[in-house]
């Protein structure tokens, strides 16, 4: 066997091998953030196409996968921007459910938690939760009823840890809009996770 066969040729790109080695990982990364298989597939394809064009900048430095994920992050943000351009904020912009019913009470304590809807104690740590693929299914299902813009803001903030200003720029919203959206997303998601995960007898 010659030397050329033993070591992969790094001087020219090999998109077929990229697809085999990193395609599923990149798809998983994108679908967790976009929650839309078609959009995630497009983002993966766009990533490989951009990687082909930019290959000379990579030159085999560092991990190929880290490099590809770096490109994919930009493609995901481009997708969020595109949604914004296609459906700009107008009158009656929906930030998500207000869930005022959580604080409805018949007694003099209106505005405080309704005992039936109030939080209860959770017995789980992030380290345990991250390993449970069924938890992530519930997590993703709980985000789906939210308006797309609200779910995107939540993902950019709580999954990717972007700063408020960066998210406002990507989604073309004011910081006050953003805080309302994040609040509604958290109120909804917390309640949904409690009902569908933490209060389930098998958890």
């Amino acid at each position: 066997m010659s030397q050329a066969q033993l070591t992969p040729d790094m001087s020219s790109p090999n998109p077929g091998r990229w697809l085999d080695e990193h395609g599923d990982y990149l798809f998983k990364y994108a679908s967790f953030r976009l929650r839309d298989d078609n959009a995630a597939e497009d983002a993966v394809q766009e990533t490989f196409l951009a990687a082909l064009k930019a290959y000379e900048k990579f030159e085999g430095r560092g991990s190929e996968r880290t490099w590809l994920v770096g490109i994919l992050k930009h493609k995901i943000i481009d997708h969020f921007r595109k949604i914004e351009r296609e459906a700009p904020i107008g009158e009656g912009f929906d930030e998500g459910p207000e869930h005022a019913e959580f604080f409805e009470r018949a007694d003099e304590w209106a505005g405080h938690w309704n005992a039936d809807r109030a939080p209860s104690e959770w017995h789980a740590t992030p380290a345990e939760l991250i390993e449970r693929s069924d938890f992530w299914k519930v997590f993703s299902d709980c985000l789906s009823p939210l308006p797309q813009r609200t779910a995107s803001a939540f993902t950019l903030r709580e999954v990717d840890g972007l700063k408020s200003e960066e998210i406002c720029e990507i989604l073309s919203i004011s910081v006050n809009n953003l805080w309302v959206m994040l609040h509604r997303a958290r109120l909804h998601l917390r309640n949904c996770l409690e009902i569908n995960w933490f209060k389930q007898p098998e958890q």
């Binding site: 597939e41 993966v44 196409l49 992030p126 958290r186 996770l193």
Partner: protein
């Protein structure tokens, strides 16, 4: 001791009436994760949480959600992917597209 308990109870109810409601407090709890609260907001929040276990849990839960989601988002890129995976159709489509470009 009974007198002390009674006093604590009265202070708690007096405070609950003076402070912002739970509905207003959960909004501040959320904002506290995205911006620096003013001194007044911080004091109201601390006092409310001191006397309200529900809002205290609410804050804890938002922190668990953030920590879990960020850990998931930062999973090592070298970790072997399990599911979901690219469908056979998508894989073939991308392969053809790449072959046309290479």
């Amino acid at each position: 001791m009974k007198a002390y308990e009674k006093l604590k109870h009265s202070i708690r109810y007096w405070l609950l009436r003076k402070l912002p409601t739970c509905q207003q407090t959960v909004e501040k709890i959320s904002e506290s994760m995205d911006r620096e609260l003013t001194l007044r907001e911080r004091i109201n929040l601390k006092l409310h949480i001191w006397i309200c276990a529900w809002c205290q849990w609410y804050l804890e839960h938002l922190e668990i959600i953030r920590e879990t989601a960020r850990a998931k988002g930062a999973e090592s890129p070298d970790l072997e992917s399990v599911r979901p995976t690219l469908s056979a159709e998508a894989r073939e489509r991308i392969r053809r597209k790449l072959a046309g470009q290479a």
